[in-house]
Symmetry: C2
């Protein structure tokens, strides 16, 4: 473990670029199904000593969605392949608790953790896009608070399933013929409001105990779920004061749940555009903007706000809309930004097309490093989820030019010190409950 | 494609060995979670020019199950990793239609097919082990015919989802800004007795159109599902006459469904033990038998028969039991074998411990090749699913010694001629329905 506190970095691989027009730049590559590009991204992020590589996900599509999201490889199978071209970087994927079964999902993440030697992370999503319901034989998407109750129970079930076998339960002793030690198997026998899951899981305990838990809930309910279980929190935050307030609020909730605040890493999204000068970086943003499709950009903003904005006047001030229960982190941040700066709908649309409402950092490597350092030193962030507007160039630029500045300032590692994602994050490996009991008994 | 009809071979990777005591042999490696062993198996099967590598699966476990099944890596993530150490061999996995959602499973297999360059196959299982129900919030396992109705609808939904996008729908044209051609997207809008799935799927059409479909149903209902959709059929068959009758029956059903019989490959399981002589091979079987755990062996037989046999007299003739609706292929074959040879329960237990009721082939490489050739030439099998009693030695032996004999006799390929699993099997790539319509219109 690092003795001084270091920044943590994620590479958010929305592989046709976070900017809606990122894939159209001359040097950019298109394709969330482009395996060679995805390998390059993962290997570049590992070369930059990033903590993790992250794949978002959704369970619905439409030709008018953000291009990076229309068609894409399935995250767990893709991360399994990427585990073979990397050896240290964490491998994180979004998966919904509303549209999967705990037994199936617990197996997939346990398997990824085994295959990768302890590098799996799960971004726990309560299922944000209502259109998914129609793909899962449901009449309607469960409402917000019900989705979070399902999510909380789902995570408890998954943890229970990952504890089906103690760490040394699989003996495979040829002489005695004992394959597993049945005394070290635990039947969960969960009976809850949403799930009845007996167990045990048919895979041994993951190398990390549990995959690292990521959460991005911004609502009151979402923050409580994050504070109770998450080890990484992704967030949409635009200004330092709001970010500081968010971090303070979340850390307060973490303490309320009796957890160590050092075991929760707040990593807001940032979209970096590195230039030789600030002017150069701004020119790149303008070049992207000129290529953006207006309808797609408005649709992306509509999804983030949870309201169809196509009937509103583009040149009137951004309309005030009631909360929709969808993606509140984005909706609240974007509404606040529009109010603060007096943005029209058109201006907010163009802003959102760059990184879906996340913070933009433009300028020289030093300027971008300044922007990261400011929030890190102020305690508003433990690290950042880097959202390159296009691939591979914008990530290459960040790794080649910004990371060295952060390293020179002593803010970021120059080498991995451990092998698992928990090692990189300085997170303890959760002990098996039976081992914890045994340790307590031994100490008494 | 091969001009003369060739045998097809699968490597059934139950990686602690098919024999319940396979893992205990001095040279054997244990572990369905042993990635290095699994890589070796896949690479060895590819070296032997096998058509496919196959992973069975279940959604429940117990310490008294067959050792290879107690804990194991999840098949889709594992096959994704194995796609990186192989380039030609098909990658097949069992997945249940009773305990997953079509949208999730269609994505996983489509993703594997993309990641592997067209090598995915799905063994469609209606969910054989009743204990799985308790892991999926169900009061009880649906009964046999209901499971098959669910399976048939599930497969139709999955096929519809794989046709969400025509083959050339993803345009990604930088100049025009067109990412996907919306006119080539198809909304499934399925409303059925068990599923309501709107679509489209958020991944482009798989390289093979659909993954290759495998089925192993042996009951009347199971055979009809196999005849209507399967391209490979796995079967438990002990003698040539029964195998021939099974093949004739299945091919008759295939014709009844209006399909080409050449598009269904019947591949019964065979457990080979290669020796320098038949006596040497028999000695190896005896060595395995001496290491077998009696309770585990009886439990394996109980599972196959669908009845708990622990209360019966081991030395009385095998009791006659009513059909249970579980794994009828195994139950019928084993009951017939016991009746034919007048086996006691103990004898049937020991037989089943070798390869769970599948055909044993013992002897020199030539003798084993004879046993395969006999069934192949008689039309009782289009190929075989090879079930080595232990790993890696028994598969290595088969590849090093039996495959060359088959090749010398002109019964098996000496090199892959194509790159996809459909190529190896001589199966057509299913045209997209819209393309098929366009072709008809053009011909008129």
């Amino acid at each position: 473990m690092a003795s001084t506190k270091m920044m943590h970095l994620g590479a958010f691989a929305l592989a046709s670029g976070h900017h809606v027009a990122g894939w159209r730049l001359p040097g950019a590559q298109a394709g969330s199904e482009n395996l060679e590009l995805l390998k390059h991204i993962a290997m570049t992020a590992e070369r930059g000593k990033f903590d993790l590589f992250f794949l978002a996900d959704a369970l619905n599509t439409s030709p008018t969605m953000h291009p990076s999201m229309v068609v894409r490889l399935e995250p767990l199978t893709l991360l399994s392949v990427l585990s073979t071209v990397t050896s240290r970087i964490g491998l994180a994927a979004t998966a919904s608790t509303t549209y999967s079964e705990p037994y199936n999902l617990a197996r997939l993440f346990a398997s990824l953790d085994h295959l990768s030697g302890g590098r799996a992370a799960w971004n726990i999503v309560a299922g944000a896009f209502p259109a998914a319901a129609a793909n899962f034989s449901l009449k309607e998407h469960p409402e917000h608070s019900e989705r979070y109750r399902i999510a909380a129970e789902f995570v408890e079930v998954a943890k229970g399933l990952w504890n089906s076998w103690e760490d040394d339960a699989v003996v495979m002793d040829k002489d005695s013929g004992v394959y597993v030690d049945a005394a070290k198997m635990h039947v969960l026998d969960h009976h809850g409001a949403h799930f009845n899951v007996k167990g045990p899981l048919n895979i041994s305990r993951p190398p990390q105990g549990y995959p690292v838990f990521i959460q991005a809930g911004a609502s009151d309910t979402g923050r409580d779920l994050a504070a109770s279980v998450a080890e990484i929190v992704f967030a949409v935050l635009q200004d330092l004061d709001t970010a500081k307030a968010f971090a303070d609020d979340l850390r307060g909730r973490v303490r309320k749940f009796g957890r160590n605040v050092d075991h929760l890493k707040i990593m807001p999204g940032v979209c970096p555009i590195v230039g030789e000068s600030e002017k150069d970086a701004r020119a790149k943003l303008a070049e992207l903007g000129a290529r953006a499709d207006a309808a797609t950009s408005l649709r992306v903003l509509s999804e983030r706000m949870g309201h169809d904005l196509s009937a509103f006047d583009l040149d009137a001030p951004m309309p005030q809309l009631p909360p929709s229960g969808m993606m509140q982190g984005h909706a609240v941040t974007l509404a606040a930004l529009a109010a603060r700066d007096g943005l029209t709908l058109r201006e907010l649309r163009d802003f959102t097309s760059a990184a879906m409402g996340h913070r933009l950092l433009l300028g020289t490597p030093e300027q971008i490093a300044d922007g990261l350092e400011e929030w890190f030193v102020a305690g508003a962030a433990d690290g950042f989820n880097v959202m390159p507007p296009w691939f591979p160039g914008a990530l290459d630029d960040f790794v080649d030019h910004v990371v060295p500045v952060l390293q020179k300032r002593g803010l970021f590692r120059t080498e991995y010190e451990g092998t698992t994602l928990r090692d990189h994050l300085g997170l303890p490996r959760p002990a098996h409950p039976a081992a914890a009991v045994a340790a307590t008994n031994a100490a008494e």
